[in-house]
Structures are given as structure tokens and as C-alpha cells.
């Protein structure tokens, strides 16, 4: 018998890295223009065997898209695991607490106001943060500290914001298509600008969440027992929620609404490795990236040459998974 605590092992990291590398290669290689693997590796290691056109497609179209997909997927999965930890709710998701509805409203306001496309992500970011702030405020004035109150406040805020968004949409039917294409999520990029735009937020959000990995394990005992162990429960919750929201808002700002990643990925990892956030968080970051890159490949190829919104792909996989989680967590009770 090994008397070691449950920790991330090198074996797990290896599997994670291998999966991620596989997904990246898939994302780079699959597309309407054929680019051979050997040439891609050559390009990355400095030798030039590709035509100028192929090289451009690789470095301006495919690579930034794959990197952005990886970053967004990583953040959504990490944030999902973090929300599930602080709220002790297996169904918590980055889109809970009004993130999605706030971002949707922000983007809609920007689009209907005729803002340039560069302003849409910023408006979405502001909307997402405002949505969470409203949920938090409402949850607090409701008086109870219980996480259920907060989640119900999230539902109320989301309904309200969505109602406003729908109203605006109906008033400006000429931009309906544009609003919907944003809401359904997409990873189409214009080079590396989106990547550099979100990277700082994702780094800060991701690092803060990962640093709290042991705290999330303590929090799984509930507020009272964690508090009795000397943990400042409310501060931990505030830090982790703020970090997860910041990261999610940044991800949503550039990718639109991509649902279910934050539920599918952490849960699949939990099923295989057990309950410790020491394992769940780092693996969620790796597999979240691999998952979204792969989902994006599917979005690009299923209806090729047309493109399916990636949010449709993740929802198609995620909704049945959500039901599965709902059923198994009911059994556990």
C-alpha cells in the first residue's frame, strides 16, 4: 500500500500534454488547404519548406485560432472547476452568476449602437463583470450567505439581462444576424490580436485559481468546518470567483458564448481521478484546451466549407453530459 496523499502525478501530466499536443496538431493540420505535418514541424523548427501561401495560412489563420481555442478552453474548464469548488455545486459553470447574460447584453448594446467590431469584446467584458457584480450584490442583500441564494440570484439576474437583450434585439432586427453569430460563439480570428488581448487576463485568472487548489479542497468540507480550520472562507470565495469571472469574461469577450466546457471537462476528470482539486484544476487546464481545439476542428469541418458555431458543437455534446452529471450527483446524495 502506498501511503501518499492524492496528488498530480507525472503520468497524469504526460497524458495531458500528449492529448494537448495531439489536439494542436489536429487543429493545425485540418483545413481546406492541405499542409503536410512534416512541413509544419519544419516551419516550427525554423526550416522553410512551405509555400508563402501555406506559411501564411499556418501563421495567420490556423495557429492563432488553435492557440486562442486552447486558451479559451483552458480558462473555461478551469473556471468551471473553480466555481464548482467554491459553490460546492457540481453543476456550477462559468455561465452561472450572470456572466453569459451580462456579456450577451454588453455585446448586443455595442452591436445595436453600431460600435466598431473592436468595441464588442470590451462591451462584452464589461457586461460579464457587471452581471456577476449584480448577482453578488443581489445575493448579499437577500441576506443569506448560502450558495444556493447566490445561484438563485444568478438565475434572476440572467433572466432580467436576457430580457433586456431580447428587447434590444427586436428593436434592431437589422443586426439580428450579427448578434446571433456572436452569441453562438466563434473562434475565427484576425491574426494574433485576440490572443494578445486576452492573454494577460487569462494568465492572472488562471494563476490565482491554481494557487487556491488546496483551499478548494478545504472548502469541500463546507463553510463551517473550513472556517473552524482557520480558513477565511469568504475571502477565498471572493478571490476565486473574481479570478474565474475575470478569466471567463475575457474569454467570452473574444470567443462569444461557448457553453458546457466548464462542466464537461472538470467532470470527466473528476470521474477518472477522484475529487481532489489538486488534480482536477491543472488537468482541467490541459484537457480544456485540448477539448475546445478539437471541438473547433469539428465546427470547421462538419458542414465544410460552411462553419458551424463552436457553441453549437459544445452544447450538442454538453447538454446530454449535463443530464448525466445531474443523474449521477443525485445518486450520490
Amino acid at each position: 500500500m502506498i501511503d501518499r496523499p492524492t496528488r498530480l502525478t507525472w503520468g497524469m501530466v504526460l497524458v495531458g500534454v500528449a492529448t494537448l499536443v495531439g489536439a494542436v496538431l489536429l487543429g493545425v493540420l485540418v483545413g481546406p488547404i492541405h499542409i503536410p505535418l512534416a512541413d509544419v514541424i519544419g516551419r516550427l523548427t525554423g526550416s522553410q519548406t512551405l509555400s508563402q501561401r501555406q506559411a501564411d495560412i499556418l501563421s495567420v489563420v490556423r495557429l492563432p485560432r488553435v492557440v486562442l481555442g486552447g486558451l479559451v478552453g483552458s480558462m473555461l474548464a478551469l473556471a468551471g472547476a473553480a466555481y464548482q469548488g467554491v459553490f460546492r455545486n457540481p453543476l456550477a459553470d462559468p455561465y452561472l452568476l450572470g456572466v453569459a447574460a451580462g456579456a450577451g447584453l454588453g455585446a448586443t448594446i455595442a452591436i445595436t449602437a453600431g460600435a466598431t467590431l473592436g468595441l464588442v469584446p470590451i462591451a462584452a467584458f464589461v457586461g460579464a463583470v457587471a452581471g456577476v457584480a449584480a448577482t453578488y450584490g443581489l445575493g448579499r442583500t437577500a441576506g443569506s450567505r448560502s450558495t444556493t441564494t447566490l445561484i438563485l440570484a444568478g438565475v434572476a439576474v440572467a433572466s432580467f439581462l436576457t430580457a433586456v437583450q431580447t428587447y434590444l434585439q427586436q428593436r434592431h432586427t437589422q443586426v439580428l444576424r450579427q448578434v446571433y453569430s456572436w452569441i453562438l460563439g466563434r473562434l475565427s480570428t484576425s491574426g494574433w490580436s485576440e490572443v494578445t488581448l486576452v492573454l494577460p487576463y487569462l494568465l492572472v485568472g488562471g494563476v490565482v485559481i491554481l494557487l487556491h487548489r488546496r483551499m478548494l479542497d478545504v472548502l469541500s468540507l463546507g463553510d463551517e468546518e473550513a472556517g473552524a480550520l482557520g480558513v477565511p472562507v469568504r475571502r477565498v470565495r471572493l478571490f476565486v470567483v473574481a479570478a474565474a469571472t475575470l478569466g471567463t469574461a475575457a474569454a467570452v469577450a473574444v470567443s462569444g458564448l461557448i457553453g458546457f466546457v466548464g462542466i464537461i471537462v472538470p467532470h470527466a476528470i473528476r470521474l477518472v481521478t477522484g475529487a481532489s482539486y489538486r488534480v482536477i484544476l491543472p488537468l482541467s487546464a490541459m484537457f480544456g484546451a485540448a477539448f475546445l481545439i478539437t471541438a473547433d476542428v469539428a465546427a470547421r469541418t462538419v458542414l465544410s466549407p460552411a462553419e458551424l458555431p463552436i457553441g453549437v458543437v459544445t452544447a450538442f455534446l454538453g447538454a446530454p453530459f449535463f443530464v448525466l452529471v445531474l443523474r449521477t450527483s443525485k445518486d450520490a446524495r
Binding site: 501511503d3 501518499r4 496523499p5 469541500s220 473552524a228 482557520g230 477522484g274
Partner: protein
Amino acid sequence: MTGLTISQLRVAFGDTVVLKGVDMGVAPGEWLGLIGPNGAGKTTMLRAIHGTIPSAGSVTFEGRSIAALPGPARARRAAFVPQRPSAPPEMRVLDYVLLGRTPHIPYLAVEGRHDVEVALEALHSLDMWAFSQRRLGELSGGEFQQIVLARALAQEASLLLLDEPTSALDIGNQLQVLGVIDRLRREHSLTIVSAMHDLTLAAQFCDRLVLLADGSIAANGPPPEVLRAPLISRHYGATVRILEDGHGGLVVAPLRQNGRSSTR
């Protein structure tokens, strides 16, 4: 006195006063049992001693005010075990016991080799080493209660606050777990305050009993002084008979109010 000293401890939730200025002391190494009917304020008292709910008055342990200490320092001195500790079913026993090391580990740091050794030693003290890789969901109620004690032990606090530590167990497990607590407090010189539901077990294991009623102390002394039939009857609203067990201990036997009804 260097043990636990409580003076004029008062707790109110809104307009409801739950503790009305309680004074009592617990000597180092002593096991004090808090008894009293439901709603008498036993759990509130334990929480107020631990400083996790706001209270007026003072609680000092080893000469220092517990409430004035920051969270981790408080948790290094006093461990609190609630009546129904949460048990994430997927969590492994060793990981669970390691959570007891939390007050010894800086906020964002992770545990070191020493912490793992302390956790394993705590499991060893309870003869539960063999369970270290089991999941909490696989344990019986009695086994889990001992793992909870191992976690409290890993906390290395010298004051143990237990809220009805055996209320969910059958009598065999109750005796075993209380026996373990008694052995641990002697081996590790712990001071114990426990809320007790079962008066016979309280009489058999505690050095001293405090009877709480309506937020005040109704009696305070060794079990034979507190467990007197009229006193218990008055505060619990139950007819009881106090019997001697033949080994210097007492048994509190509840009696049916109007005698046994005749069977038809």
C-alpha cells in the same frame, strides 16, 4: 488556572438570547461534558468557545483570548468537530486527515513532508492506518467518526471541542469511539469539552458535567452531583431513574411516564 476559562459568555441571535452570561472553567487535561435538553445552548456554547460565532464576555485558553486570535492561530489551539461533519464521498482518508493540517500551512502553500507524517501518525494513533487510501464513502459510521478524530488530532490543538461525537452511532461504536477519545486525551494531554446527548455515556466518560438549561448553568460538578433524578426530570421533562453500575459509574434510565400500559 491555565486551562479553559469562560466568564460572562453571552450569545444572542437577534432578540433571542441563547447564552445568558455563563461562567465556567475546564482544567488542563479534563474532559467536561455539556448536557442539557435540546435547545439549551450546548452547540452554541461550543461555537462561542471556538470563536466562530460572535459573543460577548471572555473565553481564554492557556491564558490567551481565543476570539482575539487570527483564524489559523485559533485553529492551532482548538479543534472543533461538528455533530455531522461533511464527508465528500470521493475523498480519500489520508487526504481528509491532511486537511486537519490546514492551520499549520500558509494560505497559498501546500503541505510538506512533515504534515503528511503528522497525518499518518494521527491515523496510527487511532489504529486506522490501514484505511488511509479508502474513500470516505466506503467507511461505516463508526470508522468515519474515528477518521474525523484523526483529522482533529492532526490539527495538533490541545483543546478539543466535540459536538455530540457519537450521536449517529450504535452503542458498540459509541463505546468504542468514546474509549478512543479518552485514550487520546491521556496520550496527547488534551483538554476536552463535548456536548453529550446520552447521559449514561456522559456519566461514564466525562470527569465533570455541566447541565445547561435555558442558556444558563443549572448544575456543574462531577457526574454524581449533576445526575440527580429530580434535577434531570425538571430540566428534561422526563422521569428517570439513576442507577449505579457496580463499578462506581452511573446509569441514567428513562422511564415511561404512566407506567407500562397493559397489553390486550
